[in-house]
């Protein structure tokens, strides 16, 4: 059995949880999805995306120590061979601590799994993704933190959930921290991980106002706007848009890199894209080494023309 933690946002499952169900199915006889807190929609999603069982736990909100307590209790009760947790901020916060509590080996940033000689082999990128390590975990239970977008979801089925409600009360003295206030600074939501088209801007965009061109191109293609670290640090666009090692890892069908040189930090976050178009005035920019189509030219000249050409082609 593998326990798969289904993280939720406003009652719905985040994609990574549903992706992990599919990854786990190939490795074990039984996949039990774990939904913490009231989230009926997520319970339904977990069942239709392939979980054999959905375990619900009556705990609201997120707290590191509470989650460690809950998952330790579940591991002790169900003795799974592994616990899969998505590589979100919360996942990366509690999963390593849980592993230490369980005396379990922990792997992070898993982008591939397979079974060899009865053991699960986890593929994890190192050095910014230029090298991959295959890892095995030699403890009775493994804690695996899975990269969002690395696995495909199953096709949803009209399946009813076999739901097991677990009543776990977390003792107050377990809680070592308290969130006093949650502040929302970024109102826009950018779903980079699920976008089929991403139009991304780098330092070469030159100024905040030039990102309007990227918005226009993205709208035309039904996509969203991404960015490298430089424009975010310059305040041209919010960090919700960041793609790369310290931002989101994406794998859209089409990725248009505008004024992006192609530093490893960024490339490791988008190399999984199916089709890459790069626009850069520097003919030797490393981004051209990974682009299906490279356009040598100034982004401010190229993008407006590209918008016109695509409109013509679509017409």
């Amino acid at each position: 059995m593998i326990l798969v933690y289904i993280e939720t946002a406003e009652g719905k499952a985040k994609n990574v949880g549903l992706e992990m169900i599919n990854a786990a199915k190939a490795l074990t006889d039984k996949v039990a999805a774990v939904v913490v807190g009231a989230a009926d929609e997520a319970v339904k999603q977990a069942a239709s995306y392939g979980a054999d069982e959905v375990i619900t736990v009556n705990y609201e909100g997120y707290n590191t120590d509470a989650y460690c307590y809950i998952f330790k209790a579940l591991v002790e009760k169900y003795s799974p061979e592994a616990v899969f947790v998505g590589g979100t901020l919360d996942g990366k916060d509690f999963a390593p601590r849980l592993a230490a509590k369980l005396g379990a080996g922990c792997v992070t940033d898993v982008v591939g799994t397979k079974k060899e000689d009865g053991k699960v082999v986890y593929t994890c990128p190192v050095y910014g993704g230029t090298v991959l390590n295959d890892m095995v975990v030699e403890s009775p239970v493994a804690v695996a933190i899975i990269r969002s977008g690395a696995f495909k979801k199953a096709d949803p089925l009209d399946a009813a959930a076999n739901v097991v409600a677990e009543e776990i009360s977390v003792p107050a003295e377990e809680l070592k921290t308290k969130i006093a206030e949650t502040v929302k600074e970024i109102s826009e939501t950018v779903n980079l991980e699920e976008a089929e088209v991403i139009v991304s801007g780098g330092r070469g965009m030159g100024a905040a106002e030039n990102f309007a061109l990227l918005n226009e191109l993205a709208d035309l293609l039904g996509g969203v706007v991404g960015a490298t670290r430089a424009p975010i640090e310059s305040g041209w666009i919010s960090r919700a848009h960041q793609i790369g090692q310290s931002g989101k890892i994406v794998a859209p069908k089409l990725y248009i890199a505008c004024g992006i040189s192609g530093a490893t930090q960024h490339v490791s976050g988008m190399i999984g894209s199916d089709y890459i178009v790069a626009i850069n005035k520097d003919e030797d920019a490393p981004i051209f080494d990974i682009a299906n189509v490279g356009i040598v030219g100034n982004v401010l000249d190229v993008i407006p023309l590209m918008i016109e050409e695509i409109k013509k082609a679509k017409a």
């Binding site: 590191t64 460690c68 901020l89 990366k92 916060d93 509690f94 390593p96 601590r97 230490a100 509590k101 379990a104 080996g105 922990c106 992070t108 990128p125 190192v126 050095y127 910014g128 230029t130 090298v131 991959l132 390590n133 295959d134 890892m135 095995v136 975990v137 030699e138 070592k176 921290t177 308290k178 969130i179 006093a180 206030e181 949650t182 502040v183 929302k184 600074e185 970024i186 919700a240 090692q245 310290s246 089409l254 530093a263 089709y275 178009v277 003919e283 051209f288 990974i290 682009a291 189509v293 490279g294 356009i295 040598v296 030219g297 190229v302 023309l305 590209m306 050409e309 695509i310 082609a313």
Partner: protein, 267 residues
């Protein structure tokens, strides 16, 4: 407050690391080593905290002899003292082994200095293995609270008020000391050393700590103690470069590129 900052020496993350064809292992010989970027932010945050509220900063690293240079650099940008956990028994530890070694080093340094650390800073992850595990594991082994992914902190009644970066903004988290915090990139960059601070750092004694010194169980560390084992090291399949287009005019260039995109049915 007494502050400990855990640092790791890593290969320069601006250099693309590939495998050495003869050994099949990452070719690191010619790559410069630097302080892990997030550990640098952690040290800068700790130094600003010390400057605002008083205290002492000790840095510690689990690493080989050459990691002493990294510790010395830390002493030129804010740290008052440094220790190197330098023992072959720690080599090739997994994250748990490293966290365990750090926990034993904390106890050893505390006993030696006659202090208790109030705040233990770590970077949120290292740029080489990016596991983001050591901070939370250290907190668990020490049985103290953790706050990950922080961008600021201030003293507060009973401990600290910590600003934790989230997807949509931030949380203000109340935490008692002692605690472990892991640091992500704040709004500032680490300071540079001055001539004077470099000279002073040269004079700092950096004692070695061995596994025996800190009473560590060697079976929990090193390759033999690792619960996670690397069974294969390889490079991802290379993405082949496609075509680079540069016609006489930008109009021609774009027309050709869009025609190719259209043929590939990407829009």
């Amino acid at each position: 407050m007494e502050i400990l900052v855990c640092v790791k020496q890593v290969p320069d993350d601006s250099v693309e690391i590939t495998l050495d064809k003869s050994t099949g292992m990452p070719a690191l010989d010619k790559v410069a080593v630097i302080t892990n970027a997030f550990d640098g932010y952690a040290l800068e945050m700790a130094t600003r905290f010390k400057e605002a509220h008083g205290g002492n900063i000790t840095v510690v690293s689990v690493g080989p002899e050459k990691a002493r240079d990294t510790l010395r650099n830390c002493c030129s940008v804010g740290a008052n003292a440094a220790y190197l956990v330098n023992d072959a028994a720690c080599e090739n530890s997994d994250t748990y082994g490293t966290a365990y070694a750090l926990s034993k080093a904390v106890a050893k340094i505390e006993a030696e200095k006659g202090v208790k650390f109030d705040i233990i800073f770590c970077g949120k992850e290292t740029t080489d293995y990016t596991s983001s595990q050591v901070g939370p594991m250290l907190a668990e082994i020490m049985d103290i609270p953790q706050v990950t992914n922080i961008i600021a902190l201030d003293p507060a009644e009973g401990g600290l008020s910590v600003k934790q970066e989230t997807e949509e903004g931030y949380n203000m988290v109340d935490v008692a000391t002692p605690c472990v915090v892991t640091v992500t990139k704040p709004s500032y960059d680490p300071r540079y050393p001055t001539m004077k601070s470099k000279m002073a750092a040269r004079k700092v004694q950096i004692p070695d700590i061995t596994a025996a010194d800190m009473g560590a169980d060697a079976s929990l560390m090193g390759e033999a103690g690792a619960k996670c084992k690397v069974v294969k090291v390889f490079e991802p399949a290379k993405k082949e470069a496609g075509v680079k287009i540069k016609e006489e005019t930008v109009e021609e260039t774009v027309a050709k590129a869009v025609a190719m995109m259209s043929d590939a049915k990407v829009f």
